[in-house]
C-alpha cells in the first residue's frame, strides 16, 4: 500500500504539557485508518496536526516531520489554505454553516475559485450531495437552511461540504458520536464508498466502529502510539497487552 501521509517523530506540546510523544505512523493511500484510545490520549490532537488545525490554539507547538506525499505539513512556509484544500475535515458535532444547503456545499468551491459558472457550481453541489448519499433527501429543498436537517443529515451535509473541493485526504473527528445508530450506519457506509477515492483518517471512540470501517488501526494512550497494525490484527489478536486491555474493556 502506498503511503499518503507519513509522520516521523511527532511531538506536540500544549504549553508545558506534552500531548503527543514521538509519534511515527504511515497512513496508506485510499484506505481508512482508525485512531482509537481513551479520552485525552492525543488521537484528536494528532488528527488536527494533519491539516494544521492546531494552529488555532496559541499555546500548541508541533515538532517533527509530517509528510503529505512530498510536502512537509509541519513547516512554517507551508500555505495552510492549499493544505486544507487537499486535506478536508469532518467534525464531531455536525457543524453546517447556518446558511442554505446549497450555500454550504458551494462555499468551498467558491473560495478556492474552482468554478467559472453557476452551472458548474450546480454540478459540484449535486455530485457532492450524491456522493454523500444526501441528494435524494434534500434535492427539493436546496435553498432551505442546512441547520434544519436532522443530525445524521447534517453530518452527511458536512461530509458533502468536505468532498466538494475533492480533497485527497478526509479527516474525521468522531463523526458519529452525536448520531443515532441508523445515521451512524449511513455514515459508515459512506466512509466505505469514499475510500475508493479518498484517504480517510477517522478518530473514534467506538471500537466496533473502528473495526467496521477501517483497514488500519492505531491505538493511542497517554500521548503514545502504542500499537499500529491492520484492523484485523488489532481486534483479533493485538500485539500489545495495553491494546488488548483497552479493546476488551479491561482498562484502568
Amino acid at each position: 500500500m502506498k503511503s499518503k501521509i507519513s509522520a516521523k517523530g511527532v511531538n506536540v506540546y500544549y504549553g508545558e504539557k506534552q500531548a503527543l510523544k514521538n509519534i511515527s505512523i504511515e497512513i496508506g493511500e485510499k484506505e481508512v485508518t482508525a485512531l482509537i484510545g481513551p479520552s485525552g490520549c492525543g488521537k484528536s490532537t494528532f488528527l488536527r496536526c494533519l491539516n494544521r488545525m492546531n494552529d488555532v490554539i496559541d499555546i500548541c507547538r508541533v515538532e517533527g516531520s509530517i509528510k503529505f506525499d512530498n510536502l512537509e505539513i509541519n513547516s512554517k512556509e507551508l500555505d495552510v489554505v492549499r493544505l486544507r484544500e487537499n486535506v478536508g475535515m469532518v467534525f464531531q458535532k455536525p457543524n453546517p454553516f447556518p446558511k442554505t444547503i446549497y450555500e454550504n456545499i458551494a462555499y468551498g468551491p467558491t473560495i478556492h475559485g474552482l468554478v467559472q459558472s453557476k452551472q458548474e457550481l450546480d454540478e459540484i453541489v449535486e455530485t457532492s450531495l450524491k456522493k454523500a448519499a444526501l441528494w435524494n433527501e434534500v434535492k427539493d429543498r436546496l435553498h432551505e437552511i442546512g441547520t434544519g436537517l436532522s443530525g445524521g443529515q447534517q453530518q452527511r451535509l458536512c461530509i458533502a461540504r468536505a468532498i466538494s473541493i475533492k480533497p485527497e485526504v478526509i479527516l474525521m473527528d468522531e463523526p458519529c458520536s452525536a448520531l443515532d445508530p441508523i445515521a451512524t450506519a449511513q455514515i459508515e457506509e459512506l466512509i466505505d464508498e469514499l475510500k475508493n477515492e479518498h484517504t480517510i483518517v477517522i478518530v473514534t471512540h467506538s471500537m466496533s466502529q473502528a473495526a467496521r470501517v477501517s483497514q488500519k488501526t492505531g491505538f493511542f494512550h497517554l500521548g503514545n502510539l502504542i500499537e499500529f497494525d491492520s484492523t484485523e490484527k488489532i481486534f483479533k489478536n493485538p500485539g500489545n497487552q495495553q491494546t488488548q486491555d483497552y479493546i476488551t474493556g479491561r482498562f484502568g
Binding site: 488545525m53 489554505v81 486544507r84 467534525f91 457543524n95 453546517p96 454553516f97 468551498g108 437552511i145 468536505a162
Partner: protein, 422 residues
Amino acid sequence: MNNKRKNFLEKRYKSEKRFQLFGLASISLALIFLVIFLIKIFSNGYSAFTKTWIFVEVNYDRELLLLEENPSSEDLNNADYYDIAYQSIIALDPEVDESSETFLIEMFAYNYELEIKNYLKKNPSDLGKIVKLKLTASDDIDQINKGNYPRDIPEENRRVNNYQLKIFDMLEARGDIINTFNLSFFTNPDSREAELAGIASSFMGTLFSILVCLVFSFPIAVLAGIYLEEFAPKNKFTDFIEVNINNLAAVPSIVFGLLGLGVLINIFGLPRSTPLVGGITLSLMTLPTIIIAARASLKAVPPSIKEAALAMGASKMQTTLHHAVPLSMPGTLSGTIIGLAQALGETAPLILIGMVAFVNTIPGSPLDPAASLPVQVYIWSESAERGFVEKVSACIMVLLIFLITMNLTAQIIRHRFEKKWS
C-alpha cells in the same frame, strides 16, 4: 430519626419560601417606585398635550389693513395687522376701560397678531369679512383652564387678576374657550413663552446627534472589535488596550464633554452647539459599549463554525467576514442600540459643548445649532413659569418613548435574527 428528618425538610421548605419572598418584595418595591415615577410624570405632563384656545371675532377690514381689492400674497404678508388684532381682542369686552385693555391682550399668546395674519394668508377670500378665529391663549389662561392655578388666593399673589378671571368665565360660559390636542408642542421650536414652546428643535437635535453618533461610532467600534477579538495577537499591548476600553466605558460622561469642547470645538473649530459636535462627543461614549458588545457577540459565535470554515481552507479573514461577523451582527446591533440609547439620555457632555443654548429654530442639518431632549428637560426645568412644569414632564415622556422604542428595536433584532442563524 424520622421526626428529625421531617423537621429538617420543613426548615428547608420554609427557608426556600423566605428566600422567594425576599425576591418578590424587592421586585415589588422596584415596581412601586416605577409606578410612582410614571404616575407623577404622567399626571404632571398629560395636560401639556392639550392647548387652550379663545374664539375671537376678527374683522378683516380692508381699509384698516390698507389693502387693495384682491391683494397679492406679498401685500398680505406686508400688511400691518396690529390694529385689527388689537380691535378684535378689545371687542371681547364692550365695557372695557383703557387701563384694562392690556389685561385683555395679555390673555393671549404674544403672537396673536401672527396667527391672525397667517389665517388671512391661507384664506385671502375672507378679506373684508368677519371671521370667528381661535387664538392661542396665554400660558396663564391655559393653566387656569386646565385647573392648575388656584383661584381662591389673594389677587396680588395670582398671575391672573380678577378682571381677567371675569372675562375668562364669561368667555367660557359662551363656549368660546376650547381645549384641543396640542400639535404645536411637537411642531414648534423652543420659546420663551410656555404656551408656544415645543420640542421640535430638541427632537431633531437628538435625532441628528444619534445619527452622527451612529455613523461615527459603529464602523470604528465594529472594526476595532473584530480586530481585537479575531486578529490581534495576545500580548501585553493588546491586554493594555483591552483594559483601557473597559475603563473608557466607566469614564464619567462629563469628561467626554470636556474632550469635545477642548478638541472638537477649540482645536478643530467645528461649529459649537451643533448635533455634529454633540454626536461625535457622544460617539466617544458609545465606542467602548459597542466594542464590548461586538467582541462579546463574536466570542459567542460557536467555534465549530469557525473551525468548519478554516477546515474548508478559508483564510482567517474569510472565516471572520463570511461567518463570524454575520453571526455576531444581531448581538452587535442590539449592543449598538443600547449604547445609543444611553447616549440619548446624556445631558452633561452636551451642555459642555454648548447644546444648551436657546434655539428657536428647527435644525435642518447636523450643522445647525440645536438642543436635545434631555437638555430641553434641563432648560425647561430651570424656568419659573407654571406652564413649563408640565412641558418638562411631557418632554420626559417623549424621551422615554424614544428610549423604549430603541430598546424594543434592539430586542426585536436580537430575537428575529438570532433564531434564524442558530
